[in-house]
Symmetry: C2
Subunit: 199 residues, 2 copies
């Protein structure tokens, strides 16, 4: 647009690259940044740069961290005997919000997906096996997503972990709490029936 | 959240300050920035800083610009005889997208709003009057929003401009093109009837 100044257009272009941000939203955000105080803009810009400069992966669990080992791996109140395996750091953060899991994590950074060219060598699977082989781990909870890739990854991990003499568990699939059976998809209902427990 | 590293949390906090960005979206954006290339993050951060450093208001129309006068005021193919008055630079950009207006603009940077403490002295109204007084302007199109504040501003401007011997017009209010009468609010329908034209 000829009516936009170059710096503003560049900001709109850069914001449009973010996921879920269309041209209209990018324009609204850009105008907000233009009107906000210089300190606020500086803070946002610094936060963006800091995240790229100061964050790396924990050498033990591959969580994103600015200390090594990360705060969770370094926490003496957390058990080394139980490891929860997730696909992404955001999955770990979701589990941490419930505040009940007191073991450690292992972040795979993805799930097996032959169609997208993601094989076992692209994930932190070798590292997980090495951690388990060290012998302190008693249970591995596989908390990959209950979709095609996550389930395939869970199956693959189970096959690798079973021979290591460790308990391997998978998070339950079923009807979400507060959900309504009428609106649940058949695949979930089937899993919910399969996973039924005596009360 | 104890499970998030400080730089990531700071980025999430800074993003949450943006309009329409909640905590979940901020988290998604932050993870995207974390995973994107360093160049891309740098580009976004620079764009944010540039917008604050390089952009100022055009001394003639008060459009945001990085040159003075702005590209529209400096355009010899645009007429000085007709000025379109809008509330915000984004309104001007919206009118520019239709590509039919070939005059100049005047950006008020707001609308009269006694409840929010915005009076005539907070808007670029004095500057508009001075522009018109210079004598080259033949028509002022008042394109403030058709809401309470915008309409009050239009009325106020009309009273100031009429004695200056200049044609003052207001953009048409009515049923939006492609709209359906059944779903249009009564106020718009009333305006649409009032503004009817002979065909």
């Amino acid at each position: 647009m000829a009516s936009t100044t170059k710096p503003l257009q560049e900001l709109i272009d850069a914001l449009t690259k973010l996921p879920g941000i269309g041209r209209k939203t990018a324009q609204r955000l850009a105008f907000h940044i233009l009107k906000s105080s210089k300190e606020e803009a500086q803070r946002l810009a610094n936060a963006i740069l800091d995240v790229k400069e100061k964050i790396f992966l924990c050498s033990q669990c591959f969580n994103i961290t600015d200390t090594d080992p990360c705060s969770i791996c370094a926490d003496p109140n957390r058990s080394d005997e139980i490891i929860c395996v997730v696909e992404q750091p955001s999955d770990m953060m979701a589990i941490e919000t419930i505040g009940e899991f007191k073991g450690k994590y292992h972040i795979l950074h993805g799930a097996l997906s032959p169609l997208s060219g993601v094989g076992p060598e692209n994930l932190k699977i070798k590292e997980l096996i090495e951690r388990v082989k060290k012998g302190r781990v008693k249970e591995v909870i596989i908390a990959t997503n209950p979709d095609a890739e996550g389930s395939a990854t869970a199956l693959y991990l189970t096959k690798l972990l079973k021979p290591l003499n460790v308990k391997v568990t998978r998070i339950a699939e079923g009807v979400p709490s507060g959900g309504n059976l009428e609106y649940i998809d058949p695949a979930t209902l089937r899993k919910s029936l399969e996973g039924r427990r005596e009360v």
